[in-house]
Symmetry: C2
Subunit: 518 residues, 2 copies
Amino acid sequence: MQFTQGLHRAVQQTPHAVATVCQDRVHTFIELEDRVARLAGGLRTLGIGRGDRVCILALNSDRYLESYLALAWIGAVVNPANFRWSAAEISYSIQDSECVALIVDDQFAGHLAAIRNDCPTLRTVIHAGDGAVPDGAHSLDALVAGHAPIADLGIGGHELFGIFYTGGTTGAPKGVMLTHLNITSSALSLLAEGAFPDGAVGLHAAPMFHLAGMMMTTGLLLRGGQHVMLPMFRPESVIDLIESRQVTDLLLVPTMLQMLVDFPGIRSRNTASVQRLLYGASPVSEALLDRTMAALPTAALSQVYGMTEVSAVMTVLPPLMHTPEGRARNRLRAAGRASYHVQVKVVDGDDRELPRGEVGEIIARGPNVMQGYLNKPDATVAALRNGWMHSGDMGYMDTDGYVYIVDRLKDMIISGGENIYSVEVENAVARHPSVAAVAVIGIPCAEMGEKVHAAVVLRPGTSLTQDELYAHCKSLIAGYKCPRSLEIRASLPISGAGKVLKTELRKPHWENRERAVS
Amino acid sequence: MQFTQGLHRAVQQTPHAVATVCQDRVHTFIELEDRVARLAGGLRTLGIGRGDRVCILALNSDRYLESYLALAWIGAVVNPANFRWSAAEISYSIQDSECVALIVDDQFAGHLAAIRNDCPTLRTVIHAGDGAVPDGAHSLDALVAGHAPIADLGIGGHELFGIFYTGGTTGAPKGVMLTHLNITSSALSLLAEGAFPDGAVGLHAAPMFHLAGMMMTTGLLLRGGQHVMLPMFRPESVIDLIESRQVTDLLLVPTMLQMLVDFPGIRSRNTASVQRLLYGASPVSEALLDRTMAALPTAALSQVYGMTEVSAVMTVLPPLMHTPEGRARNRLRAAGRASYHVQVKVVDGDDRELPRGEVGEIIARGPNVMQGYLNKPDATVAALRNGWMHSGDMGYMDTDGYVYIVDRLKDMIISGGENIYSVEVENAVARHPSVAAVAVIGIPCAEMGEKVHAAVVLRPGTSLTQDELYAHCKSLIAGYKCPRSLEIRASLPISGAGKVLKTELRKPHWENRERAVS
């Protein structure tokens, strides 16, 4: 399998169907293929070839998809940068992966001087924007216009597709090496799960640099669906595009989900075209799922649980488990069951499989598992020991194979010798009617080692005290798990992938101290 | 991906669901896993290990599936013998692939002496039957009972799963080498096409040694469906099992389809549980499809076109194209469109892609393409030239990517300088109300080189003359394509895979002569 395969199939079968919609630009599949084949010719003329690494730093757009395709076309390897990172962090990823070129849009052209200064290997800059072309850069549209189409080199399988950097805001960034087979096997398994069926119109609301977005990119491509591009997530823009483009398929990370379904007035808008909603990438409270089902009543919900290192897909919780039947079986709290392409187990510290119901680390094996972390042989060996990817997530499996995530290993709170899973506490806090969003962390405590601390964003016009929150939680979970302190915030710090950055929340509390788990 | 993956998934998710039904034996997935893990232990004790080749010569049964799984469990490579072959042909495949062991059932134990005599590498015989264990053989059930379960070695991906012999009755048999990834990628793509959905009860009516049967085996395993075993195809047995086991999914080759839907009284039986019918492996006339839809009105039909060398799946014609809408667009005559995992093209003799509508050779590329023919480097290089599998099938592609097979390259008739596709003539002949089955071949003709000859099986109580047939065909196709001679037969010679053996039909006409195309 190769990443460009879906484009070839769509050109063969539905050449005149709409492939991409971006602002006022609409391209059919045959037009997209023509642009990609010409851009590939342009890249080759610039001396970019098989195995060369190329960074993309851009908001979602049709040109982002064209860049992905054109790089794969000539066997170049993409480094899709997290645009929430600082220029220094992006420079690190460019240097670590020895990128020879950077594709940048208007939004991030301001980083150019700093990046050029930091990155001696970077010899080419391509501007994928509508504004003025920066000095010394090549215009992507001019490359398309100025070159004849070249043939796809047909590179795929075990060759590298991309290097995806993770963890930039939580510690040393690691470049996750993923092949064409890694990416496409996850996407094909999602299709077998029923994602993006024939006629799908998918909205790229999640950032395309992220593996969740990559699953929409690759899955939609394989099925031959339509890509509607949203440059930057805003709830009203999502609703506008649902209405104007009759979007059928959404893929959202939980923070986006929360902002969308709590957006005032969503119920007065016509979202009835939305047939399916994939969500994942971090834990979701049942309260938020309830609000989602109320706000988007036509959408069949599926959760996908995974991470960059497994090409985003480990387990899938199908729509049936989001119905009252699934809820009655406690399945709404599950992350789903192993998808078709991957094997999933819960193991102890010695990689022995645990009995069902016992909490351990979740590990996975399959064609979707990364080749390793670039330039990090020790981290690679640790993550892939015994041939399985060690997720760093703690969870258990029930008798029907449903996986329940209890926490990230490093987010687990150890208080008075008890393991407290922050996700369980968050679920309890989230059920309070005043709570719009919550993150629970451990903060230092002289007596207990750590104590439970809640950072909360309130819903408009509400209030909450520590005593009210404690009493609310006490009615739902054991007393030792209930928050001992409360911090009301205007927002939570969010990663580019929409995950709450608990390291950021912990930082002021832990200055000059070291956590037992990190 | 590994072949045993679906079993592990099913054991994890639905351990107590029925896995196999064979005669009066019923096993759940956890029972199947236990039997497989013990059989694997037994095989290991017999000295069979990773990379060793093992032949299976048996009718469909639960023990056939257990053998497939246990061999994959320890990394052995299977040679599933075509049981319609002579002992000499089977011995050839055993010698060519250097099998160290043979798994044989009651039906074929009679071949043992001859095979043992021919095959010096064969040191172990395992009896997978209910009758007396042949001298010197080990009982499969005793191996299961007498050994502790061993762990799956986890072998998959690019390691060899099996060597599948093709062409045994048409010329020198060739061993097609297929990996775990080859087999599972085709099966996963079929799932993405909607085959074998959750809750599927599949009937193994096609022989399990054949790649079509292998797709039901692997697809059902991946989805966790139920395997109902039919040892040998008989129409009334198929109907009995549909009724008694509430079969939802059928996979049939055209000759089986014809025998089933023309079986007297099928319409008085309850076949309403059948929701899906996959057919393929050789051309099907529209007339037969009409009778199929009338006889099995609840079944959504899909055609799968492929061959052993591409792990059975190249194109799929979905149910929609079997409706009046599809028929109006002439799609019922198509073999389908490229499935998700594979790229398909129609090319000229120099592998240049032809414009839509022009007839050329159909070629394919993807994770499903074989590694080559065992011990046949020249044939391998010829088949896989330029990295694409050359199917030997002639066809064209329409503007929507639908592939239409016009003939096997070697079945095409060249008459008076005109290319005549036997399939087109067969479609015309099949529309005559007296015709139950037909095969059209070229026979020697002093003036024209070849002339068109029809071998026909009549429907009960009907008759047909050459003049009547010619007049019928002349009303449908050009005169030069119409049969010049007619042969009424009780049956057509059929391969183990259910294909009509045109070489057998041609033989008496071509003795001591050489065809231009062969």
